[in-house]
Amino acid sequence: MAFLELEHLRKFYGENEVVKDFNLHVEQGEFISFLGPSGCGKTTTLRMVAGFETPTEGVIRIDGRDVSRLRPNARDIGMVFQAYALFPNMTVARNVGFGMKVARRPKAEIEARVAEMLRLIGLPDLGERYPFQLSGGQQQRVALARALAARPKVLLLDEPLSALDAKIRVSLREEIRAIQKSLGITTIYVTHDQEEALSMSDRIVVMNAGVAEQIGDPFAIYGRPATRFVANFVGQLNTLRARLVDPAAGTVDLGGQPVTLGRPIPGPAGREVSLAIRPEAVALGALPGNDVTIEAPVREMNFLGSVIRIKAGLGAELVSLDLFNNAATRPPEVGATVPISFAAADVLVIED
């Protein structure tokens, strides 16, 4: 039995079904991300766990107890909001201690825990400040400390970093993950930022239009996307149309050049198939381990700092590949025909 179980969750707003048969089992101490485009139902699902929305159907269990119909203040959860939501009339210390005060813990225990939490978030001296005297990043840390102080069973975060600027976002996400690991708290983290989800999570739930398209660890989500949506949503992806030549051997015609994937592809010879490959799996020049090498003219070159992204033509299609910016080797000229290579195993065949 898992620690947090969502079973057959559905949510309707009027006629509109925004969460469709959502199933998820979360182990104790696991860090789960909900990743998906805007409006796909991430927040709604999270709010059902928190108790702010009632599921139309389905069951939510925390630690074996059915909480589906329990009020939010009886669920033993901690929540962090995008807008921080610190109580403006209270100092940082009183914000952090609020949950324990509500639970009528002894004063000494509250004080000790508040001090401990402030140390944990790296703001040990700011207890007497008011929220409006803190930066956004500091406020969000305090909000995290507040959510964790009463030792909830589950921590829920709804896009906690999206109001912050890029640098703080990266450092804070590492900090959140470290704190989560050190406390071993079961966590659900909502984001639409794939980098966040990939870098922080034990497992990711990729959502689309109210459906959990794929649930898996970051490597699986990135490397073996189960659906076309996941493949396109997570990471950069080259999608190429090819013509199937030999279904049994897995040979396709890619822009006039034969490519053998070495595994059978279903379907009659002559049909069109969609292939997908990550830019970082494609290399310039023949490389040991890359069993497919083809010739392609360079069509575009984009300088992205540490990386140069080259777009090479394969018939009518363009394939992107990344080149580390190395001062010693000059990148190829636009218009030159170069050999590019990849491993057949990295090519995904996508069924529409």
Partner: protein, 262 residues
């Protein structure tokens, strides 16, 4: 440009004269009780009058009770409307504005008709009952100001998210109301409270028709029978009103300073 400024100044001066002249005249008159020289005699007489003290403290007590009742009524209502029934806001707002449209005389006759000694709830039969009725009436009169003030105060905070944050930390409705909502709208409540205070101190119709010894009827009584004392009384009550307005300004200014960076 020049002409514009001329007219602006004229309008301002006209306005000032329009408001200030009667005030100055009244104040000047209130000092003339002693023949041939200015003195505070009128004030001395007024302040020494036991009826003045009795009616004034009666009205102050009622004002305080009115403020408490009004806060207990408007803060949860405005909060709930913002949180759960945003579509009802225009309706509620309209209702709270009704006391500005319905004259107090109508309200009080309605009360007398509903709660007279031969009714089911004979509030006018006892002094306590009548006092309660008066507080209820004052609360109605204070609604437009109080509700607006509280609603404006609630607009400054993210009611929904703060409520959810508190709930997720285990707080129930009472805790949310007293520890989070009320403290955050306190400044707004105070400005509503001072206005209510000013209204109650000067109110005449309700108190007179319910026959309670309030400050308003006392002023009227003095005004009908004396020459200089009413002027002094008017200056005093005007001073109280202005003090209330000043306090509102002060409180708002102070709160803006503490929340400057929000």
């Amino acid at each position: 440009m020049k002409g514009n400024r001329f007219w602006a100044w004229s309008a301002l001066i006209f306005g000032l004269i329009y408001f200030a002249l009667p005030l100055i005249g009244m104040t000047e008159f209130s000092f003339r009780m002693r023949r041939g020289e200015y003195s505070f005699d009128a004030y001395r007489v007024v302040l020494a009058d036991p009826n003045f003290r009795a009616t004034f403290s009666y009205s102050v007590t009622l004002a305080v009770l009115t403020i408490i009742l009004s806060v207990c009524l408007t803060v949860p209502t405005a909060y709930w409307v913002r949180l759960r029934m945003p579509r009802w806001r225009p309706v509620i707002e309209f209702v709270t504005l009704l006391p500005l449209v319905v004259p107090p005389i109508v309200i009080v006759f309605g009360y007398i008709r509903l709660y007279n000694t031969s009714s089911l709830l004979p509030l006018t039969g006892t002094i306590t009952g009548t006092n309660a009725l008066l507080v209820a009436g004052y609360t109605v009169l204070s609604l437009p100001y109080m509700y607006r003030a509280v609603d404006t105060g609630l607009r400054a905070i993210d009611v929904q998210t703060l409520t959810e944050a508190a709930q997720s930390l285990g707080a129930g409705w009472f805790t949310i109301m007293t520890r989070i909502i009320l403290p955050n709208v306190l400044v707004a409540v105070l400005s509503g409270a001072f206005l209510t205070f000013a209204i109650v101190i000067g109110e005449f119709v309700l108190a007179a028709l319910l026959n309670r010894p309030a400050f308003g009827p006392y002023m009227q009584l003095i005004g009908a029978n004396r020459a200089y004392e009413p002027a002094a009384l008017a200056v005093i009550s005007f001073g109280i009103t202005w003090a209330c307005m000043g306090l509102i300004q002060l409180v708002t200014r102070f709160s803006q300073a503490t929340r400057a960076s929000r």
